[in-house]
């Protein structure tokens, strides 16, 4: 990701180093389902390294889930246009046919979702749901599949796996269901796990358990995780590097500590300031005024301009791109150099 200052990131054709497992180049997603097209995702580029937890953070509707689903072709075929490249090894997943794509999904790249209740099939026993995945992607025999299912349940920390495998999803609590979803996702030892707000539907104590589990699984299995969340706290706790999305674009990307210590985009600064704090006497949160722009007809220039306290005249007209602010830190802000440091 090396590049000269003040120039957009150059698009590389392949996963450039052995370290990189997934590289997304100039990803765009356009929904043509309404009367006018909606550009939900535009010019999103990032890469994920082996064994890394990469975070994508942003508010509702900023395109984070659409980005994640586009990676493995889970967006509906009708009325959705996906552009750009997703390099996984030497394969561009967006060019892959339906059949090879199916072999990637669930086996090499798998996904866990936000609400674990609705993502489990209510009429199938847990055993069937785990073993079916193994049947689809491996040549394991019946007995080995059974053994593997038990092993997976233990891996995600479910007690008495033999009995629980015979149960239905409604017999599990929220946190346990998320563990089951993880067990299914991990069945074929994927190299990349996409996690779409995996803890949003859970209460805080369970959230913490699941996050710790995810981290432990990453350490034990050496897979990479792309973690999508609207919660900067979760991202900060979990990730090595993070991309902040706003109105369908990445506005800032950096190693997570660097981003929190020294954000170089006004939106990131606003996000951090709007977090509740325990170390001041202020009784009020500090929200970002206004609302994100419509993606049907996004404004030219910087999309954050209308809400930005540091806005200049040229902000509304420049052809935005990610600019290198610090080492490994890129910001879609003209004024990234003159933004105030966070007063910590």
């Amino acid at each position: 990701m090396s590049q000269a200052n003040e120039r957009p990131i150059t698009i590389q054709e392949h996963v450039s180093s052995a370290e990189e497992i997934l590289r997304v180049n100039d990803l765009g997603v356009q929904f043509n389902t309404g009367p006018r097209p909606v550009r939900a995702v535009e010019g999103v580029s990032f890469s994920v390294r082996r064994g890394e937890i990469f975070g994508i953070v942003g508010e509702s509707g900023c395109g984070k889930s659409a980005t994640l689903r586009a990676l493995i072709g889970l967006l509906p075929e009708r009325g959705v246009q996906t552009t750009g490249q997703v390099w996984f090894g030497n394969r561009n997943l967006l060019d892959l046919g339906e059949r090879p794509m199916r072999q990637v999904r669930g086996a090499e790249i798998s996904m866990v979702f936000q609400d674990p209740m609705t993502y489990l099939n209510p009429v199938l026993r847990i055993r069937e749901q785990i073993e079916e995945t193994l049947k689809q992607h491996t040549s394991l025999g019946r007995a080995k599949r059974r053994a593997r299912a038990v092993e997976l349940m233990q891996l995600v920390g479910i007690a008495v796996p033999e009995r629980r495998l015979r149960e239905y999803p409604h017999q599990f609590s929220g946190g346990m269901r998320q563990r089951v979803l993880l067990a299914i996702a991990l069945a074929c030892s994927p190299t990349v796990l996409l996690a779409d707000e995996p803890t949003t539907a859970l209460d805080v104590t369970i959230q913490d358990q699941i996050l710790k589990l995810l981290k432990r699984l990453r350490d034990e299995l050496g897979m990479s995780i792309v973690l999508v969340s609207h919660d900067l706290g979760v991202i900060a706790q979990m990730c090595e590097r993070v991309a902040v999305m706003y109105a369908g674009q990445i506005v800032e990307t950096a190693p997570v500590r660097q981003l929190i210590r020294n954000p170089r985009h006004p939106y990131t600064i606003g996000l951090l300031n709007s977090l509740p704090r325990t170390d001041t006497n202020s009784r009020y949160l500090d929200p970002i005024p206004g609302a994100p722009p419509s993606l049907i007809d996004p404004p030219t220039g910087c999309r954050f301009a209308d809400r930005c306290p540091f806005v200049l005249e040229e902000c509304r007209t420049w052809q935005t791109s990610l600019l290198e602010a610090e080492n490994q830190q890129f910001s879609r802000c003209l004024r990234h150099e003159s933004l105030p440091r966070r007063h910590d």
């Binding site: 493995i72 794509m101 999904r105 979702f113 609400d115 993502y119 099939n121 009429v123 079916e132 689809q136």
Partner: protein, 270 residues
């Protein structure tokens, strides 16, 4: 684990249906009379007289053996006609709802056309072309009775396919047929199963109606509906003629409904 409260009606239903099936299967051993042999000396004999446990009809034919043998025809109509419609209609509904778009539009227009056709007119046409009889009656029912299944299942699929477990199944790399049959079908089939039980009872009534018009089962074969319509001239003097086959239909119909409800509960684990 075992919740008897929900299972008692189901058990009763199974018993009633089993009773009907056993009666039909074991007919030759349960009665010594041929269903079509006439005892001219004892016509319209009341139940219990002259060794006829349930009496005789206007030709002196034994009502018990006719009811039992009629069960064979009616079970055939109930299950044979319904099963084919159930499978075919459900598949059409599944495909239509899952793929949507043009496939859905074409299939559902066909369904609309069949629905719009007056059933009896269609059956009369088919039988006018093919000739009367049980087999052609089956054709007529098959041709028409699959459409409600297609509509029921399609409606369920439209709701269910937006559920996240379908997306999850896609994310696990499953193929469309597998998602449709393995993940969607168990979630959408319950209303169709319940409907099929009522439909089976309906089909028995349909067989009766066609028999009454002389288009279904032909004389002298016994069939419950036909027995009732044959009895209408003797109803005021010989109560047992319409009552006995009527009870048979009631037992079978009640049994099927209870089984249908019971199955609906079993397929819904939560």
């Amino acid at each position: 684990m075992v919740r008897w409260r929900g299972r008692v009606p189901f058990a009763i239903g199974v018993t009633l249906v089993a009773l009907t099936i056993l009666g039909a299967l074991l007919a030759p051993w349960l009665t010594s009379y041929d269903p079509n042999s006439q005892d001219i000396l004892h016509t319209l004999a009341p139940p219990g007289s002259n060794g006829h446990l349930l009496g005789t009809d206007q030709f002196g034919r034994d009502v018990l053996s006719r009811v039992l043998y009629a069960g064979r025809i009616d079970l055939m109509i109930a299950f044979g006609a319904t099963a084919v419609c159930f499978v075919f209609g459900s598949m059409v509904g599944l495909v239509s709802g899952y793929f949507g778009g043009r496939v859905d539009a074409v299939l559902m227009r066909i369904v609309d056309v069949v629905f719009a056709f007056p059933f009896i007119v269609l059956v009369l046409t088919i039988i006018a072309i093919l000739g009367p009889g049980l087999r052609n009656m089956f054709f007529a029912i098959w041709l028409v009775s699959w459409v409600p299944y297609a509509r029921i299942v399609r409606g369920e699929v439209l709701v269910a396919k937006r559920r996240e477990y379908v997306l999850a199944a896609k994310a696990l790399g499953f193929r469309s047929p597998r998602i449709m049959l393995g993940h969607l079908l168990p979630n959408v089939i319950t209303p169709a199963i319940v409907f099929s039980m009522l439909d089976a009872v309906n089909n028995v009534g349909l067989g009766a109606a066609l028999g009454f018009l002389g288009l279904g089962v032909q004389d002298p074969t016994a069939e419950w509906g036909k027995m009732i319509s044959d009895a209408q001239n003797f109803m005021s003097t010989s109560w047992w003629l319409p009552t006995i086959p009527g009870i048979a239909i009631a037992i079978f119909g009640l049994g099927l409904s209870l089984v249908g409800d019971g199955l609906a509960d079993r397929f819904r684990p939560e």
